[in-house]
């Protein structure tokens, strides 16, 4: 069936056009009533309104529909709520999530975990929703923006009478001045109100803020860029989120890179009691903690197991919580710290118990100590070391952990007054361990003659605080911000200005005026009313309303 799409004004319209593209006359049969016109997209045919859709058209129409878009938004909204019911897996840094949900939240927690809701925002269905929203953004916009642009860029000035009288804001009146004069005056008034006016004799089209119509589409483009940028993070090398533990004074390698980061010095300031309100008194609340950090790049021997890597300094920065070290897209953030005092080294002295003579002292490190020491006439050979000393189940000495929490050193001492093969000596640097394990008892064969002990706190060196840093690379970030900014611009364009148009024609002394805006009819009416007022015609804005629904 061939639909007649040629309008009485002579213009040939596309199939599906609601209002003639040229003169605005309503084209369809059912539009002969006096109901306010459907002005969406200026009545232009949109691609998705064609008949006989094939599969591609069907998919296209599906994603182009606003109804579907709203459904997608609502479903995403509901899905997001599900992920807030219980903590998500990505909030656990250590440990196995499987062991958390059931034990802590019973059957609900277990079900939650099994159904995958503990990973809601990384699940396939959530990502699918986002993909569909992205698709809808693309197709909705493409489907509408091109016809809209076409319709708005070639607008006819003298519109069909029924087009004008079926707008939502209408005013008609018998004039007692010539039509052209009236139109000219109106043109001046509207120009004063910043309208762009095109006049053809006694008909005019006044238009304002057309740019605001593009707002939603620019917003959509921004959102699309945003989503694509977020997706781009999965490109290998574009994203890293690692935690490193850097004890003071040490440089730690950053995995998957050639970088090392060093914690030269770590400081923390706590709030004093004066600065804290009463109920927080006595608590340790950090005010400011910072790592004086240095970033190195490894230039040689980077993966060698035997040789030390050769490091070249590339950046220095004091890292505090809101101020990371940044270098070529790599950022090191202050995440946490541990300043519980840990033993680093002691300087014990060898003392003759009988004479009280002090033969001298030596530096004994907790980590990788020297194996041989000479103190006075004595030689000490370090045979074994226990990081956290304990007597095991089998009665033999053992260690409980890898950290020097209760260090013990097993020496063979050779020298005057001792047997040829040397005597054993088990040394505990910490006083509390010395007492706990009865150092003197263990070494009783020698402890009445010789003793290893640290004289004062001066002989004790503590390790500095350990700083926990979060290393991040995020090449896609700039694009995320660009997308967000474009989206914001689109929102502001679209919501804070309205596209207003006024059509006017005089036929045989009768003035017909129609106006349309995409939002804020209140403002449209008051614009028209005050323009008339300036011309001496009193009009109540409310009376201009021709019915129909607000947008």
């Amino acid at each position: 069936m061939i639909h007649n799409t040629k309008c009485e004004c002579g213009h040939q319209n596309h199939i599906g056009t609601v209002l003639c593209e040229a003169c605005g006359k309503p084209l369809r049969e059912d539009m002969q009533s006096q109901e306010p016109l459907e002005m969406r997209y200026d009545g232009v045919a949109r691609r998705s309104q064609k008949s006989n859709p094939n599969i591609i058209d069907r998919v296209w129409n599906f994603f182009s529909s606003v109804k579907i878009a709203v459904y997608l938004i609502i479903i995403t909204l509901l899905g997001s709520i599900l992920g807030t019911l219980l903590p998500q897996e990505n909030t656990f840094i250590r440990g196995n999530p499987a062991d958390y949900y059931g034990p802590n939240h019973g059957w609900f927690g277990e079900l939650y975990y099994q159904l995958g809701f503990s990973r809601t925002y990384e699940s396939w269905w959530f990502i699918t929703l986002l993909v569909m929203i992205g698709t809808s953004l693309v197709i909705c916009s493409l489907d509408r923006v091109l016809p809209l642009y076409r319709a708005l860029s070639k607008q006819q000035i003298r519109k069909h009478l029924s087009f004008i009288t079926r707008q939502k804001v209408v005013y008609t009146r018998e004039l007692d001045v010539p039509g052209e004069d009236f139109a000219r005056d109106m043109e001046a008034q509207l120009k004063r109100r910043h309208y762009r006016v095109h006049r053809e004799g006694d008909a005019l089209l006044a238009e304002k803020n057309r740019f605001s119509r593009w707002g939603p589409y620019i917003n959509h483009i921004g959102l699309i860029i945003f989503l694509l940028a977020v997706l781009a993070r999965s490109i290998p090398g574009w994203y890293m989120d690692e935690y490193v533990t850097v004890p003071e004074g040490e440089a730690v390698a950053i995995e998957n890179t050639n970088y090392y980061i060093k914690n030269e010095k770590f400081t923390v300031d706590y709030y004093t009691d004066e600065e804290l309100p009463d109920h927080l008194q006595g608590q340790l609340r950090p005010k400011l903690y910072k790592t004086q950090a240095v970033l190195y790049e490894c230039t040689a021997n980077c993966n060698d197991l035997v040789e030390e890597p050769v490091l070249e300094e590339v950046k220095r920065h004091d890292i505090i919580v809101n101020s990371p070290l940044s270098y070529k897209g790599l950022h090191a953030y202050q995440f946490d710290f541990d300043d519980t005092p840990k033993l680093a080294a002691v300087q014990p002295s060898l003392i003759n118990k009988e004479t009280g003579e002090n033969y001298g002292s030596f530096e004994l490190r907790m980590i990788n100590p020297e194996l041989n020491y000479k103190v006075g006439p004595y030689e000490l050979e370090l045979r074994s070391q226990y990081m956290e000393f304990a007597i095991g189940e089998d009665g033999n000495p053992t260690s409980l952990s890898r950290d020097p929490n209760a260090p013990a050193f097993f020496f063979i001492i050779k020298g005057p007054g001792l047997s040829e093969k040397g005597e054993t000596y088990l040394y505990f640097p910490r006083q509390v361990d010395k007492q706990r394990f009865s150092q003197d008892q263990i070494n009783r064969h020698i402890s009445d003659r010789l003793e290893l002990s640290v004289g004062s706190m001066e002989g004790v060196t503590f390790a500095g605080a350990t700083s926990f840093l979060n290393i991040r690379v995020d090449t896609a970030m700039p694009y995320v911000w660009v997308g967000a900014a474009i989206s914001m611009i689109g929102l502001i364009m679209g919501f804070y200005w309205n596209h207003r148009r006024i059509w006017l024609r005089v036929d045989n002394g009768k003035l017909s005026l129609g106006a349309h805006t995409n939002k804020n009819w209140y403002g449209m009416r008051s614009d028209v009313a005050s323009a008339f007022k300036k011309m001496g015609i009193e009009v109540d804005p409310k009376s201009l309303d021709n019915g129909g629904k607000n947008s």
Binding site: V66, A69, V70, I73, I74, T76, L77, S80, I81, G83, T84, P87, Q88, N90, R94, G95, N96, D99, Y100, P103, N104, H105, G106, F108, T120, Y121, D241, Y271, E275, L276, P277, L280, R285, P286, L288, Y289, I320, V321, N322, H331, Y333, F335, N470, R472, M477, V480, A484, S487, M488, L491, F495, Y496, K519, N520, W521, Y522, K542, D545, N550, S551
Partner: protein
């Protein structure tokens, strides 16, 4: 001079000015039939008085804000009390803007009590100035929180306008199924507002009485490594315990109305910090609220909605619909900017990830998606009018949940301290 103390005085002044503003708006709208003067003049005169008083209230409120800022050395938006008062202030500002466009006194009649309610709710929380945790110390804090609050303020005004639309449009005399359903939902909304008022009143009454009850509670927590830890903590209640905390013993408890022992125990599946105290508070609020509502119904002999409905006569519902839409249209970009974009910038700096699916962030997204759906639905004809008004009401409920519910019920990086 002590700025913080002065700020408290300014705050009280603002509160009372808002109350008076509300009363004058009621006189303006409701009283236009009383006086034997020209109703239009009456409305105009009293609306002007109400507006001036409200504006003075806002001035006092701004004074509170800035003097507190000077006195504490940090912007007063970092705990629940400060933020809520700021939100009240922002709603006042949003109201003034919308009122400047549409000049409808009845909007004041609904917006001002909303402000008063939010400010009163804020006062429930601890007011002391608290030093900032390092994570919060950034200029983006100021920008994010204030902008988000401003966006939400417009949503609040839209809520007021939406509620007004429903009260204007719902047929309280109708008996059809649809009319009945609409009446019931409007009534329910008003009932919830009564419960909130009851909550605030209950807190202050018991506080005024100096009521105290405390318990020791034993909690077992299994962390993500399967390690079980048992903690014993003290829980304080500001209201008589109808529900005592799970697995707890009474340390001391004043008796109230003959109740000398807790009546029930909070079920174990209610987890989270202070679940017992929160449940107890909610139960009390619902009790007192229902009582209050019952008394009101008895006194008025009609549903509350039916009482307010006649006050809305003479107002064009289309205008209310437009105000609702316009308020959301103004607020949405502001909300996007504040609650999403500035939040992402701040999160990126403070926690080195711009989005972590933290419950607070997700609920901000949910709010955003909801209003986005609203704006898209407005494009379709069937959604203007009453459905749109309901959406505006629901939307604000979501906003409130994001601010209050997430902080107090769900925990995360974002939580502030709760109270009562």
């Amino acid at each position: 001079m002590n700025w913080v103390e002065f700020s408290s005085d300014a705050f009280i002044a603002a509160f009372f000015l808002y109350c008076f503003g509300f009363m004058f708006y009621v006189i303006a709208v409701a009283g236009k039939k009383w006086s034997n003067r020209d109703p239009e003049l009456h409305v105009k005169r009293w609306a002007r008085i109400a507006y001036i008083v409200s504006a003075l209230g806002l001035l006092a409120h701004l004074t509170f804000f800035f003097t507190r800022w000077i006195g504490s050395g940090q912007i007063p938006t970092s705990n629940m009390y400060e933020f809520m008062t700021f939100l009240g202030m922002a709603i006042m500002i949003a109201f003034i803007i919308v009122n400047a466009i549409y000049r409808k006194p009845v909007l004041g009649m609904f917006s001002l009590p909303l402000v008063v309610l939010i400010v009163a709710y804020a006062s429930v929380f601890p007011q002391e100035v608290q030093p900032l945790v390092p994570a919060l110390n950034s200029i983006w804090l100021k920008v994010h929180v204030t902008t988000a609050a401003l966006g939400e303020a417009f949503f609040a005004v839209a809520f007021a306008a939406g509620l007004m639309y429903l009260l204007r449009v719902v047929d309280f005399k109708g008996t059809g199924k649809k009319a009945r359903r609409a009446q019931r939902w409007v009534e329910f909304t008003l009932y919830v507002i009564v419960v909130i008022i009851a909550f605030i009143a209950t807190v202050f009454i018991f506080r005024g009485m100096g009521y105290q009850a405390s318990f020791t509670q034993e909690l077992v927590n299994i962390d993500s490594r399967g390690v079980e830890t048992t903690t014993v903590q003290e829980v304080d209640y500001g209201m008589p315990p109808i529900f005592k905390p799970y697995n707890s013993e009474v340390v001391e408890m004043e008796s109230f109305l003959g109740m000398s022992k807790p009546l029930f125990e909070t079920p174990s599946w209610m987890e989270g910090v202070n679940a017992g105290r929160k449940l107890n508070t909610i139960v009390w609020s619902i009790l007192i609220g229902s009582l209050l509502y019952g008394l009101l119904r008895l006194a008025l002999r009609k549903p509350l909605g039916a009482v307010i409905h006649p006050l809305m006569d003479g107002i064009d519902p289309d205008d209310l619909d437009e105000i609702t839409y316009r308020a959301i249209a103004i607020g949405f970009p502001v909300f996007t900017l504040g609650a999403l974009i500035f939040a992402m910038i701040w999160a990126n700096i403070a926690w080195s990830r711009f989005w972590g699916w933290d419950p607070k962030e997700v609920w901000a997204l949910i709010t955003w998606l909801f209003y986005s759906a609203y704006l898209h639905l407005r494009l379709s004809r069937g959604w203007q009018g009453a459905p749109s008004a309901w959406l505006a009401v629901i939307g604000f409920v979501i906003v409130m949940f994001t601010l209050i519910g997430v902080n107090l019920v769900i925990s995360g990086l974002h939580s502030y301290a709760g109270v009562s």
